[in-house]
Symmetry: C2
Subunit: 336 residues, 2 copies
Amino acid sequence: MSATTFMAREIAEIPDAASLLVAGEAARIGATLRARSFPFVVVCGRGSSGHAGVHLRYLIETRLSLPVSAAAPSVVTGYDRPPNVAGALFIVVSQSGRSPDLVAATEAARAGGALTLALVNDPDSPAARASDLVLPILAGPEHAVAATKTVTNSAIAGAALVSAWAGDSELERGLAALPERLRQALALDWSAWSADLAGAPAAFVTGRGHGLGPLREIALKLAETLRLPALGYSAAELRHGPRASVSVATPVLALRQADPLAEGVDALVRDLNRDGMRVHACGGPLGTLPWLGDGHPACDPIAMLVPAYRAIEAEARRRGLDPDKPAGLTKVTETL
Amino acid sequence: MSATTFMAREIAEIPDAASLLVAGEAARIGATLRARSFPFVVVCGRGSSGHAGVHLRYLIETRLSLPVSAAAPSVVTGYDRPPNVAGALFIVVSQSGRSPDLVAATEAARAGGALTLALVNDPDSPAARASDLVLPILAGPEHAVAATKTVTNSAIAGAALVSAWAGDSELERGLAALPERLRQALALDWSAWSADLAGAPAAFVTGRGHGLGPLREIALKLAETLRLPALGYSAAELRHGPRASVSVATPVLALRQADPLAEGVDALVRDLNRDGMRVHACGGPLGTLPWLGDGHPACDPIAMLVPAYRAIEAEARRRGLDPDKPAGLTKVTETL
């Protein structure tokens, strides 16, 4: 393990990677989509790309009023029954564009009459070649197994697409401000949270709406980089069944963006504080972690990934784990 | 806490509750749906009912080739932007039929031109009243906070609906055999698994396809009844990122039904065994837990809930926890 890990370098590249994107292809593809109509959208992705897909789902539903189905690739690759997606928009999100089940699902969607769009880092990948439209996320080479800048750029590319597609000037302004906020976010020190994870048997991450994809992404990074069982739940779900499994031993990270769902996150944080749980909150009046103050509610949770990634990477090194080599994982996700 | 808990009594009622269902309304409503066509289906439910919804999703996609969107109620209740579901089928799954956000989402879907269908235990509930069609799940009164027989009956009602809707005679035969298999399943002793959970900091449950809803349900019951952080992952997801957080300290339960996805579950079980993990598997050549042998692949994972529920309930009592009163939970899920 080198003094500086690939993961650390790639987190530091997040603001520059985001800057390259803003002036990208999203506007052109957004205009193409705006000229058509779709009964619904299917979003297909696994792991970190799946989390970018969850972020995209909330934007498509709230900005375009189109229902979104998160594809279950096994329905195509295992059960061999591709759903009827004629006339729909099928979006595959994949860093490498090489996961065989995602490629198969994309090919099946195209053969079934969907318009297919790939959000990929490699525009020459099989998933891109199976797609009618390709939106390159332009994150540059990523060497760490733990994806970071490809995740933020996938989410930003999706948001830029929706901004153009829906003609949402507020979201456009939020995205224009994002590279600078990502740069500022690099300086935020969340070690109060990550240090609290030492010795914890498990950890929780919560939030809602635009925060759901990012909070699941943070939980996954805890699992793969710190080898910590980590549970990502919407605040609405966590309040109920899973709440019983939160204890003083299991730190909770809460992401809170300034939108109509903030109240629900605040209420959960208050309840957990009252019950003596170890809560680390970002955003809002109950925030305990350093934060930039409220920006655009769909962009802020993306920016919250930056201090979370940095804290996880540093905590992994502190424990003698190699953030670049999570146990038993490889860069391209192969599932069939 | 009484010597016999509500939870234990209600688990024991699962076979009888299932028997009442088979001759129910599902065929009539299935025929109604068959006479219409839908571009897609939205399934809306939280917690245990959400897991029954996941089970339903795989059946609808594989038997009817209709894409399914799992509704995000917050898009309606928080962001106030109901997706355009005109012409679609909207299915709300709710034991009580009283969760305000599910009722609001159902009302919005109906107002937006969807055909609304309620799978509910209380056919006089607000969710039922907001629906064009009501499929009562006929589970009878349920007193335990931890839902059990309402979960199996929700899943069976959904499967009976799809069987009639798709004219799937094999699924119909599987459902006809299910009450007797559920009765046999009551005798299966999974204490080798539940005893292994003692002292575990967290636990994993895995499987794929038709097993995804049931495995998530078991994880939720571990969380709410044993207060154990429990992670339910499809075998396809668990192989990748989350795998790094599985250790010899965290038992893994694997559900395996006899269908084209079985191979993937077997491969994961083999890998975990090779790495010395504590794996408890149900079904197939690698099974370690008592099981009935293969039946219908969409019905077997429902039957696997029975020994899992029984083992969790018994382990909770053994530890002095009251299975009927999980910490901080209530029977009706209220989220807005």
